[in-house]
């Protein structure tokens, strides 16, 4: 409500109240005074309403966190699938490599049907190339899982549960898998390992 409109309304209530005093009309006087008090309390009431709305929204958001967390088992199943798919693709590639090695040995033998052997080799190479298509599929799945993990992280942060700093492995000798550049402590190179071992007398 704009100020002039509000002032006009208050003035009208005050005039009505004065008139009620003049007429000794107690009921009207009380009603007009109540209207003025209500106007004064309005911002406080609006504030309380807003606060309760925000509280309601905050409480309403809690189940959303559950939904995001609920996606985690699904994320695990997706990653298990990636492990299986990449394993299968690697075995397929190794099958073709071994088969090609056998063809090459036949190629070196005297009296070999070069044309047929080369055709088979070409076929193996193109199948090997095709077997690499797992990268596209596994890449898409891993990106999706990264999205789920980010979502869970954001939801936890939104309700004030920011995870603390990642706990560093207490024992640096504990097995932790490949070091990832920019995330883990830089790993030793083969040259570093060789130097270290030679220093230790190996």
């Amino acid at each position: 409500m704009s100020d002039p409109a509000r002032n006009a309304e208050i003035a009208s209530h005050l005039r009505a109240a004065l008139a009620a005093i003049g007429h000794a009309d107690d009921a009207t006087l009380k009603a007009e005074l109540r209207a003025i008090v209500q106007w004064q309390e309005a911002p406080l009431l609006a504030g309380l309403a807003k606060l309760s709305q925000q509280l309601g929204e905050a409480l309403g958001e809690l189940p959303v966190v559950d939904a995001a967390v609920g996606e985690l088992p699904d994320a695990c199943a997706r990653l298990d699938h990636v492990v299986a798919m990449t394993e299968q693709a690697t075995h397929r590639t190794l099958d073709l490599v071994e088969a090609s090695q056998a063809l090459m040995e036949q190629l070196a033998a005297p009296g070999a049907d070069r044309e047929a052997l080369l055709r088979d080799l070409r076929g193996h190479l193109s199948e090997m190339a095709l077997a690499q298509s797992y990268q596209d599929l596994s890449g898409q799945i891993i990106r999706k899982v990264a999205g789920i993990v980010r979502g869970v992280h954001d939801q936890l942060a939104a309700i004030g549960l920011p995870p603390g700093a990642a706990p560093r492995a207490a024992d640096p000798r504990a097995a932790s898998g490949p070091a990832v550049a920019g995330v883990d402590r830089p790993a030793a190179s083969q040259q570093d390992a060789d130097d270290l071992l030679s220093h230790l007398g190996l």
């Binding site: 690697t90 075995h91 640096p172 097995a175 898998g177 070091a179 790993a187 030793a188």
Partner: protein, 126 residues
């Protein structure tokens, strides 16, 4: 020369076996963790072990300690082929008595170089 290749990933076991075959070591066997490997080693007949470090069950470093603590197996050469590449880990493996340490990903040339070095040392020690 009979070699035991220990890794929890079947693909890596196969890659190592292929590389060993290219180097002339065609008599190989596989185990998927340190526990299975130790059982096979105890049955005898192996001359060399190539092992990963990080495996569910008995890890490579534990397998190395078990081998060094076993009267019959303690002289068996062990080559660690692993993604574990912290200084502390390399030192720990050396202290546990490893004969060579290769960091994944590795090349065929690195594998050949380390094997040659181990055999050279064993030859001069014998």
């Amino acid at each position: 020369m009979r070699i035991l290749v220990v890794d929890d990933f079947s693909t890596m076991r196969r890659i190592v076996k292929n590389l060993l075959a290219d180097l002339g070591f065609t008599n190989t066997a596989e185990a998927e963790d340190g526990g299975a490997a130790f059982t096979m080693l105890k049955q005898g007949g192996f001359d060399f072990v190539v092992t990963d470090w990080n495996m569910p069950g008995v890890t490579g470093i534990e397998l190395l300690r078990m081998i060094r603590a076993d009267d019959k197996l303690k002289a068996l050469p062990v080559l660690m082929v692993t993604a574990e590449a912290k200084r502390e880990q390399i030192i720990e493996a050396a202290q546990a008595g490893v004969n060579g340490y290769i960091i994944k990903p590795f090349t065929a040339a690195t594998l050949k170089e380390k094997l040659d070095k181990i055999f050279e040392r064993l030859g001069s020690a014998a």
